[in-house]
Subunit: 129 residues, 2 copies
Amino acid sequence: MTLEKTLKPTESELEILQVLWQHGPSTVRFVHEELSKNKEVGYTTTLKLMQIMADKQMLDVDKSSRSHIYYAALEEEKTQQQLLGRFLDAAFRGSASKLVMQALGNSNTSKAELDEIRNLLDKLEGGSK
Amino acid sequence: MTLEKTLKPTESELEILQVLWQHGPSTVRFVHEELSKNKEVGYTTTLKLMQIMADKQMLDVDKSSRSHIYYAALEEEKTQQQLLGRFLDAAFRGSASKLVMQALGNSNTSKAELDEIRNLLDKLEGGSK
DNA sequence: TTCCTTTTACGAAATCATTCGTATATACTT
DNA sequence: AAGTATATACGAATGATTTCGTAAAAGGAA
């Protein structure tokens, strides 16, 4: 088992990770253009951030071609799980059901997704005896 | 309708809000002692933070007695809702069902709470037609 | 080759959050 | 009253995050 350092991506870092998770390995240029869809940001800012993230081992880099290719080094689900745990404590004092209720109440979730959640509930209640 | 500035409490600020939400209006001393249960922190640090929060109108202060009494000026649910919205976008790219599934999967939620969630699901599916 | 564009490298500034030392005021204790 | 404890006020240091200017390197176009 490898040393699982529990890195905490900052908000900006998370934005970059999201691009890489969604689109796969990318150049700085591509990531920068994605980020630019949502906010004003300078190219070298994005570059610097990604370099820092590579330093922290959040990203891997392939430097074989001129435009370096960056890879997310953190797994999406594992990272989300960690963030969620922290958020749950910080914002909801650990009450998962409160969080879930609010999340469901305030978002347009499709019937299919609701059914998926219901299935999970069935499994959970079944197992919890 | 009053100007609803959408303040974003920082992590430390949120810790203080949690104490006030949970215990009601409190002195700096009390809040500080609550925080100290979880982490090392200096008294003047807590004081300063609460003063800053009062500046930002996150807290109201009653200065009539020597030990000032601080009140949460933000509603718990409304604040949680805002934080949740942001978190959902930042960490789950807006997918509430993914968040909910992960939250349920990884926390020990009681049968009673699961049933409560199920009821909400029923209401949602009913209404969404 | 020369010029223009794109990329990375580097370093530092700007911003924001957190922490705390010190001073001063107020109340309590003896 | 004198001394001690506890409170707020103030200002500044620290630290982390974010931003970006400038330069150097690499590649492509004329």
